[in-house]
């Protein structure tokens, strides 16, 4: 169905860095409504640093590559995003030991691993109005589509829509974690910027695979 090689993953990272970079105004505006306005800045700093380092990692294994991504995100992004994305990549690097491609099934395990690493490190659950509310439904719907034996585009379409709709649903949620929870209205009526940027990344990943790797 598809094979996502390390070289492909690098290209995806370059692309997602551009997409994040372009969203300064939109994300900062969202964050201004409920948070402190630094989410885009730190995420962008992390992704720029990541793209600067990618060339140094051409020779390493896929698992090592994932570990490097995790460590770089953790240290360059800082804040909550850095530690959550960092934990997600570090944890799922173990799934890549001895592998040189990500298959559709393995991608399902990785997405599930991301969701569980983020839930664990952030001590959060679906419905708390966080980035988990984008990755969790995305991972679930992708997994179900794979299990049902759907084709490449359908499965990745489920991944994309799960992320988008999940992020959209944070609008009606009450914030339990993070700065949005300080408001007396718990930020109901506002999108969660962390869920939105997670959705941007998952959307980008799904589109990248459809365009470049689906057979």
């Amino acid at each position: 169905m598809f094979e996502l090689r390390k070289e492909d993953y690098m290209k995806y990272l370059y692309e997602v860095a551009v997409r994040i970079h372009e969203k300064e105004e939109y994300i900062t505006e969202l964050d201004a409504e409920t948070g402190d306005g630094d989410h885009w800045l730190n995420l962008d700093t992390g992704f720029q640093k990541l793209t600067e380092k990618l060339e140094e990692w051409t020779a390493c294994s896929y698992a090592e590559f994932y570990r490097n991504i995790g460590m770089t995100m953790m240290s360059a992004m800082g804040g909550s995003s850095g530690v959550l994305y960092g934990s997600a990549y570090l944890k799922t690097s173990k799934l890549l030991e001895g592998k040189d491609v990500i298959t559709p099934e393995l991608l399902g395990d990785i997405l599930e691993g991301w969701a569980s690493a983020i839930a664990h490190r952030g001590n959060t659950k679906p419905g708390f109005k966080t980035m988990l509310d984008a990755i969790y439904p995305a991972s679930k719907r992708y997994g179900q589509a794979i299990e049902a034996g759907k084709d490449c585009k359908t499965c990745l379409g489920e991944l994309k829509r799960g992320a988008q709709e999940g992020a959209e649903n944070t609008k009606n949620m009450e914030a339990v974690r993070g700065r949005a929870s300080y408001r007396e209205d718990k930020s109901v009526g506002h999108l969660d910027p962390g869920a939105v940027t997670m959705a941007i990344q998952l959307e980008c990943l799904a589109e990248f695979i459809i365009e470049n790797c689906c057979k």
Binding site: G82, V83, L84, V176, R183
Partner: protein
């Protein structure tokens, strides 16, 4: 575009630290870790703080004799990463363990939890306390709960003095926690601030508006209200604090903290207004500190913190300290 004295915005934190250690030669800098620490190593419990940039002089300004030993400095308004915090813990450790003074933010707590695991693998004893002094946020065991704001400076002072006396890690922790339990703060914001590198402010405040209870990162507070006189502001702020913890008929330490964009003149006017409210509420001010202790870039506004004092706290508060941002002799 806002005017700021800077070079490339992405270098702003490193360049600030470079200037900071040039000015304060008694401190050292682990450049690649954005960690600042005392040079002189004394055998005592180590004290570490961590936090994002943009709050200067917090927290690196509180490193020195009688206060902190090392601070990990994050990106703007964002927690430092686990490797940075680990470096600060290592730098502060003299074999008697390290107490990390945290403020209650999800990012700070998560990054610290990883750093603690790493430090314990190196056989460093690490304990922590979490400051949550901001009465603008309801405390809760379910959600993130109350933020830590400028009252943290009292915790640095009290814990620092206790550690300097030669107390053991557990004792320093108990005293720090006791201080936290007796500190409450409330802030007001008159204006916004723009993160270096961004085109727009991260939040907005209207022309004749102020926001009661806004956080030190511009997180929304309790409510927006019309700008009032200093006397009325002092009453509103103290009332809000007293609703949460009754300081009436108590001796207190007071911290009147500017957020970066408010002149000292206005802070002292507010101090005079507070004096009247204290007289009415029979609150005895034992020590009053006025200045920019924990800022939010160029935000206009201030916070008021109260700490109820007993004999132990008075003794610890009066002990000398010598740091870039606080000197008591």
């Amino acid at each position: 575009m806002v005017k700021k004295i800077m070079n490339d915005p992405k270098d702003i934190v490193d360049e600030m630290l470079e200037g900071f250690v040039f000015a304060h030669k008694e401190l050292q800098w682990f450049k690649e870790y954005r960690t600042v620490a005392v040079k002189e190593r004394k055998e005592k419990v180590g004290l570490v703080a961590l936090g994002g940039s943009g709050h200067e002089p917090a927290h690196a300004g509180y490193i020195g004799e009688g206060m902190l030993d090392a601070v990990a400095v994050g990106n703007l308004f964002a927690s430092p990463s686990p490797d940075q915090i680990l470096k600060a813990i290592e730098a502060a450790n003299r074999g008697k363990g390290v107490l990390v003074i945290l403020k209650n933010y999800s990012g700070d707590l998560m990054n610290f939890s990883i750093a603690k695991e790493l430090a314990e693998e190196e056989n460093i004893r690490v304990e922590s306390v979490v400051v949550k002094d901001d009465v603008a946020v309801q405390d809760s065991t379910y959600s993130t709960g109350r933020r830590g704001i400028a009252g943290t400076v009292f915790v640095h002072k009290i814990a620092g003095a206790r550690a300097a006396e030669g107390a053991e890690l557990e004792e320093v922790k108990v005293t720090a926690q006791k201080a936290i339990d007796h500190i409450r703060s409330i802030g007001i914001s008159l204006g916004t601030c723009i993160l270096p590198g961004l085109k727009k402010p991260g939040f907005y405040i209207g022309e004749n508006e102020i926001e009661l209870g806004m956080g030190i990162h511009g997180e929304p507070g309790i409510r927006k209200m019309e700008l009032k006189s200093a006397n009325e502001l002092a009453e509103t702020m103290v009332d809000r604090i007293l609703e949460d913890l009754d300081y009436r008929k108590q001796e207190v330490a007071v911290l009147i903290n500017g957020l970066g964009g408010t002149p000292q003149m206005e802070l002292y006017v507010l101090t005079a207004s507070l004096k009247k409210v204290f007289a009415r509420e029979e609150i005895a001010a034992y020590r009053v500190m006025v200045g920019n202790y924990m800022t939010s870039l160029e935000m206009a506004g201030c916070s008021v913190s109260l700490m109820e004092l007993d004999e132990e706290f008075k003794r610890l508060l009066d002990k000398p300290c010598m740091t870039p941002a606080l000197r008591i002799q």
